[in-house]
Amino acid sequence: MGILEGIVVLVFLLVGIFFNSLGVLSLYRFPDVYTRMHGATKCSTFGTLFTGFSVIVYSLFRYFSVGETRFLVLIIHTLVAMAILLVTNATGAHAIARAAHRSRIDPKFAVVDRLAEKEGRRRASL
């Protein structure tokens, strides 16, 4: 029981750590703010979701072996935290992207920029 629980938790946590590290790595590897946002938002959301899944799996194992309801409470609160994180991260990234574009930060190496064409300004970097 203990070994199986440890292995499942370890697998989930390794996936979470892997994606969170990729999110941090993408902050340094990509050239401009939009591409950085791709890596940082997606990978950190996914990694944190998997971290939450590992806590849920751990609490489920504990609940079935010990049988105390406070592990069920832990599961419910983790689910609430994950749902809030899923919604707020995407919306926050969208807000930062829009603000960056409105404050005239051009995407580097962009092949096309329809939003700047619509606003009628020329692209500075190409």
């Binding site: 440890g6 979470g16 806590v55 926050g92």
Partner: protein, 86 residues
């Protein structure tokens, strides 16, 4: 056994947060720093979720929920500030 794994995970996430500080300080534009701060916030939420399992306390999970909401509000404020609406 799981508790040991969780503790090591918290250590690794703490190292990742320290690594983010580089982008937070060096970022050429303000949106870069905002993105770094956003990533840092979601890592802090991950740490809080894991620590709630380590210390077996549900209160820490509630703090994670509130922290996620507050970090979203602060991100919105920073975005509005970058746009120049304030």
């Amino acid at each position: 056994m799981s508790i040991t794994i969780f503790s090591w995970t918290v250590g690794i996430y703490a190292v990742l947060i320290v690594l983010i500080f580089g982008r937070l300080i060096a970022g050429p534009t303000i949106p870069d720093r905002a993105v770094a701060l956003d990533t840092m916030n979601s890592l802090v939420v991950a740490i809080m979720i894991v620590l709630a399992a380590v210390y077996d306390s549900v209160v820490m999970e509630d703090i994670a929920v509130v922290y996620a909401g507050l970090s979203f509000v602060s991100t919105m404020f920073i975005a509005r500030y970058i746009e120049g609406g304030m």
